[in-house]
Symmetry: C2
Subunit: 305 residues, 2 copies
């Protein structure tokens, strides 16, 4: 199973900019593909990766500003043209369903694959997805309109068995393995306890990724981000524009770095830069003063969590 | 004044394709800019030209299939962010206004510049625009949903004056020039008629451009296209798929070439190729059998009419 990673398809803010793309990311976590936000041109960006669009079954939309969702409708149309038949679930604020339906109505077409909308409306954190490997939660953000970030967590990994040690204890059967992988000791028929650590390697740490865009500086969010392995946080403005940032529901480089530091994250990726700043490296320079492991991403590159 | 030209921003059909762009074109006619169709990514393509987006005051949408209009909403948003204040007029079938308004409603934003929708609904040809230099007409097409092509015609050019000849006739004043430029003879005070051709060069021919996408083969359209200087006509399919093309409301390469020939156009540009055909040059090869001056366009290149 490939280690979990993200690919940033775009991290531009709302004004178009030559050769930049609005917000969209692909997260691969325990071999599940999640599409996070979907600015215009997302499907064209996807075509440049090796990601198979048809393997995406869950799309997460943070909020209904165009630079975060205008690319969605063409992806839904493409799925129809490609005769998708598997369920697609879209997690988004109220309104997106109505928008999609209006487009479909006027094009006199249909969506024949199962399409499910999960309407996000709570201002508290909610678990919105769970399968055997991954749990996903909203991160309530403070923006000009109702907005969520998303927290993606790998579930506890099974421990890897020390097969040589296990083979020595003849009475351990294959049906017993799962319990040992979960971390339980093995109790022999004669009552002897074989400690789990004798039978297994150390558990591989479960990873987590948090996506926070768009949001004003809000230290309350830190409680949702504690010890997250990788954090994407928007930095629309350099810090000298902190008042403007706050007024417009956005963060500065210093704001993002403070959130990263307080959250005890390992790595911070910044983006969503306003195009008024031509020298984007200034964002990194500012953020690094507070949080050293800050990067400006390259699009279409895999970042392992 | 620059000679009229088109720039093709994209001519892909509905399925996305690496490094191709869905339908959109810019026409510059007598220094007026007209945007014709607006597939996803149109504004990004525009950024690659020297066209100033803010100089576009009229947008023409052929029909409400996504590959012809999904890029419009982000252009309208960008105009808002750039604080446009001049009138923008959109000529489109019924429905587009509703679609745009739903997007604006849910983003909790506004459009503060004057935005006018001209709803196209006639199945007969209509003149939809006229200024001092240009007239624009719909071209009723036959597609799966209500669709128009567009015919752009330069108005009659003023004749260029032979200044040396005019100077010899002292009584001709500057105020008389416009009448001579229009082609009238000059009548001297003594009653002598000075023939117009003595005072002016031959009139420069007024040019015309026709855009026909999407449409099934329909020879009736020829009456709208007579002697058009440049014709863009869709060719979604190679001719062996003519039945499928017809069923789906599209044309083949041979269909387009026949329309070009019957219309007595000078040049045919083809596009909107289905991505099932990897070798696009086959389209040109087929069309050229019927109509020699056929080209597959390069995007972002100026084609003078």
């Amino acid at each position: 199973m490939e280690k979990s990673f993200i690919i940033i398809l775009g991290y531009n803010s709302s004004l178009p900019f030559y050769n930049h793309h609005p917000t969209s990311q692909i997260l691969s976590m325990k071999n599940n593909l999640f599409l996070i936000d979907c600015g215009e041109g997302t499907q064209t960006q996807l075509l440049k990766t090796k990601i198979k669009m048809n393997k995406i079954n869950n799309i997460f939309i943070s909020h209904l500003h165009g630079d975060h969702y205008f690319g969605l409708i063409s992806i839904l149309s493409t799925y129809q043209l490609l005769r998708r038949n598997s369920l697609l679930t879209i997690y988004a604020p109220k309104g997106l369903k109505e928008i999609i339906e209006i487009h479909i109505k006027w094009s006199n077409s249909n969506i024949n694959y199962p399409l499910r909308f999960v309407v996000l409306s709570s201002i508290k954190q909610k678990k919105i997805y769970e399968n055997k490997n991954v749990k996903i939660y909203t991160i309530p953000l403070k923006h000009k309109i109702y907005t969520n970030g998303f927290l993606f967590k790998e579930k506890k990994n099974f421990k890897r068995l020390k097969i040589d040690k296990i083979k020595k204890i003849k009475e351990i059967k294959i049906k017993d393995y799962r319990s040992i992988q979960k971390g339980y000791n093995y109790i022999k028929k004669n009552g002897t306890i074989i400690p789990n650590k004798y039978l297994t390697y150390n558990r591989i740490k479960s990873l987590s990724y948090a996506f926070c865009s768009d949001t004003k500086y809000n230290p309350e969010v830190v409680k949702y981000l504690k010890n997250v392995d990788l954090l994407y946080h928007e930095t629309t403005y350099l810090h000298k524009y902190k008042d403007l940032a706050n007024k417009r529901g956005h963060s500065t480089s210093i704001n993002a770095a403070k959130i990263a530091k307080k959250s005890n994250t390992k790595k911070l990726i910044i983006g969503h830069f306003s195009n008024r700043f031509t020298n984007k490296s200034m964002f990194k320079k500012e953020a690094k003063k507070i949080f050293k492991n800050t990067i400006i991403p390259k699009t279409l590159v895999k970042y392992y969590i």
